[in-house]
């Protein structure tokens, strides 16, 4: 058994040197580059031989086929899980899971970009090796790509009764996974406008982003996330982002370039726009709902605007990468988060939209968290539902075209 492991390690190391030098270089660039807020460094535990069913301390509920393994490796984005209120170095949900199942979860916030993260495990997946993670969380369009490539495991729904019972119906319309057995929605958020009404006055429309107005000229910022920026611009132009075409991309890119040459746009940024909103260097930004909620302490004037035209609506999803060693445990872990009480605990710690049924009712019944049930960013009211717009799925060639055109907006 040990020899097996060593051999595998050897192969993967050699492959790493030979094949994934580029990925290594990319990671190196990232390490000396912009990832200033990233606290974690990556998987620290070596791969183990314990597959699903190797060990297990707690008996799962009747009908479930898997037993929990001793460890589980989970890669996620920043700020996507509830911190233990008594110890901010720990995750409450993972502690609970460990107490019930005996599994130590190696949870790392290593993802800050879909493309870059998937590139870091693509060599292992194509070589049929352990990708090092049992759960990864990626955005819908990336799930579509992974499903198309066969890079994710099919979920054994017998292990996931809570997921099957509690996933909100609105998530069941995905064309890329109609059977809902390759991905489980993790969190949903909105991309709209973050702005300071004391500086700009009350705004209602996305068109403000493209309007020359001395109040926000040179103090407006766009997002570097292609689908968010092009999507919002298409909405402002009256186009339909659910069916994006190359002509739409051209129109949107032209609009954004014009906004740049008009001097409206100060910069095009990723998450760092929040710093400029805080310092006042920016007063009007394309923004992510959860971010703006998190700014309350530093920039009390900054508000999230749900524009008349609608918001871009996206979902990050938990998937099990092909070749994951602890597949069964990963299914149990995802299912754990689909128990409404557990989801309510997670959701209270972060401010996104939960895909789990019954969470709102739990908040309504509780005394401490009653206010959360009325938070429009956690539970978008029914009249807003038609205005939650999902960016349509692009095929590979179109996606390359969109990215190339959008690079002009970023200025690279």
């Amino acid at each position: 058994m040990t020899e097996n492991v060593d051999l595998q390690l050897l192969i993967s190391r050699r492959r790493f040197l030979a094949g994934s030098a580029m990925a290594g270089f990319a990671a190196f660039l990232a390490a000396c580059g912009t990832s200033g807020t990233n606290q974690s460094t990556g998987p620290t535990n070596p791969p183990t031989t314990e597959g699903p069913g190797a060990t297990g301390t707690a008996a799962p509920s009747v009908g479930v086929e898997a037993t929990a393994s001793a460890e589980l490796n989970w890669a996620n984005w920043c700020c996507y899980l509830d911190v233990d209120p008594n110890d901010d170095t720990k995750w409450k949900t993972l502690e609970d899971f460990q107490a019930a199942m005996g599994t130590v979860v190696n949870y790392q916030e290593v993802i800050d970009e879909n493309e870059g993260f998937v590139a870091s495990i693509s060599n292992q997946i194509t070589a049929g090796q352990d990708p090092g993670w049992d759960i990864i969380v990626v955005t819908d369009w990336m799930v579509a790509r992974l499903v198309r490539l066969g890079w994710v495991e099919q979920l054994n729904l017998n292990n996931m009764p809570n997921y099957v019972a509690n996933v909100e119906d609105v998530y069941k319309q995905q064309t890329f996974d109609a059977a809902m057995d390759h991905h489980a929605p993790w969190q949903t958020g909105m991309t709209g406008i973050g702005y300071d009404p004391t500086k700009t006055g009350e705004l209602t429309s996305l068109k403000s982003l493209f309007e020359v107005n001395p109040k926000w000229k040179g103090k407006t910022e766009f997002l570097t996330e292609m689908r968010d920026a092009i999507g919002l611009t298409m909405l402002a132009a009256g186009l339909d982002p659910t069916k994006p075409t190359r002509a739409d991309a051209d129109t949107a890119v032209q609009m954004m370039l014009k906004a740049r040459s008009d001097g409206i746009v100060r910069d095009v940024k990723g998450n760092a726009y929040t710093e400029d909103l805080t310092s006042g260097d920016a007063v009007l930004c394309m923004a992510w709902s959860g971010d703006v909620v998190g700014l309350v302490g530093d920039a009390p004037n900054v508000k999230f605007l749900f524009p008349d035209e609608g918001v871009m609506f996206w979902t990050d999803n938990a998937v099990i990468p092909k070749g994951a060693v602890h597949k069964g445990t990963a299914e149990l872990m995802i299912d754990w988060c689909y128990v409404p009480e557990h989801a309510a605990q997670i959701e209270a710690g972060i401010s996104y939209v939960t895909p789990v049924k019954g969470v709102k009712e739990i908040y309504q019944a509780s005394t401490d968290d009653k206010a959360l049930a009325d938070d429009p960013l956690r539970f978008p009211p029914a009249e807003l539902q038609p205005k939650l717009i999902q960016f349509g799925i692009l095929n590979e060639e179109d996606e390359k075209y969109f990215n190339e055109q959008f690079a002009k907006v970023i200025g690279v």
Partner: protein, 327 residues
């Protein structure tokens, strides 16, 4: 015989660690990047190498010509600016430093005790539109409300200039330190005068022309910086420039100027941190393009090709520079 052979081997043994290090961590990755520049394909489909993919080069470089221009302009400007700031600094430390010499040198290097990234990011706080510098100036009406330095080319050039200042200062200091002051005394004995009038004039012209050039290149207002720089130049010229300086000290310090310029210009050409944090889409440099293609677009071939063009371009510039000024 055996001993002789052994002795012949010694240089190679001594070279070995350095050579191995370079081979493994410089040459090998370089070869990898070079090979990648001839790939076609994608991360998903895998890549294939073919010499017929030389078209990656023209394809990769054509859309980024403006970035190449900016990289050249910004790093050349920053090099000239660091030279103008570093020379008087190094001169003062070397010639007038006295007992404080070590302390002054330490102060030049002191910023290096914090991270490059942190220093650049803290400029964002300093230069913020209504921060500690511009806030009060705007409040008393000296600057218009929509004035800003952040997210402009000026901030990028200023950031590069600041970050590379020690690389210029130290080599010049070393060169000036070695200048035999008796040569200067001899020149003075041989009627090399103070040159006050010429120095003032030359300083004013250099300062004025430089500021005017910058103003035109970066699209700033022309009059105020030009006059200001001409005045500063005149003062510096009056008190720094003498015939002995022009004929003796400066030529002797040229090796330092040469080394300092290379140490500043070459890394500045490839820099992307300053443009990323202090600039905006209108001021992105070639380094930002390469970074984006590697990490966001995952287009390794079209990222590798401009990396090589950048290297080749710098090499050519350095060769020309060496021929002109070479030591």
């Amino acid at each position: 015989m055996l001993q002789q052979r052994r002795r012949a081997l010694i240089p190679y043994v001594l070279l070995a660690p350095g050579l191995l290090w370079l081979l493994f961590f410089f040459a090998w990755p370089l070869v990898q990047v070079f090979l990648a520049s001839f790939w076609s394909g994608s991360v998903e489909q895998g890549y294939t190498f073919s010499l017929s993919n030389w078209t990656n080069y023209p394809n990769a470089i054509e859309p980024v010509l403006p970035h190449v221009g900016r990289s050249l302009l910004y790093s050349a400007t920053a090099t000239v600016l660091t030279l103008l700031i570093a020379y008087p600094l190094a001169y003062t430390i070397a010639m007038r430093g006295g007992r404080a010499k070590n302390l002054l040198l330490f102060l030049v290097v002191a910023p290096f005790f914090t991270s490059f990234l942190l220093r650049t990011l803290s400029w964002k706080i300093l230069l913020s539109d209504s921060g500690v510098i511009f806030g009060p100036l705007k409040a008393i009406g000296l600057l218009p409300d929509d004035f800003r330095v952040l997210a402009t080319p000026m901030a990028v050039v200023a950031g590069i200039t600041y970050n590379f200042l020690p690389f210029m200062t130290l080599p010049i200091y070393v060169a000036l330190e070695k200048v035999d002051f008796r040569l200067v005394e001899a020149a003075r004995d041989l009627y090399a005068g103070p040159w006050r009038r010429q120095g003032t004039l030359v300083g004013a012209i250099v300062g004025g022309v430089l500021a005017a050039g910058l103003a035109l290149a970066f699209d700033w207002s022309l009059v105020v910086p030009t006059i200001g720089a001409a005045l500063i130049g005149a003062v510096i010229g009056r008190y720094l420039v003498s015939e002995a300086f022009v004929r003796v000290t400066f030529p002797l310090s040229l090796p330092g100027v040469f080394a300092g310029s290379l140490l500043t210009f070459i890394p500045a050409m490839g820099d992307y941190v300053n443009a990323e944090f202090l600039g905006n889409p209108e001021s992105r440099m070639l380094g930002n393009v390469i970074q984006n293609r590697f990490l966001t677009q995952n287009d390794f071939p079209e990222a590798s090709a401009p990396s090589f063009i950048l290297m080749g371009g710098i090499l050519i510039i350095v060769i020309i520079y060496t021929r002109l000024l070479g030591t």
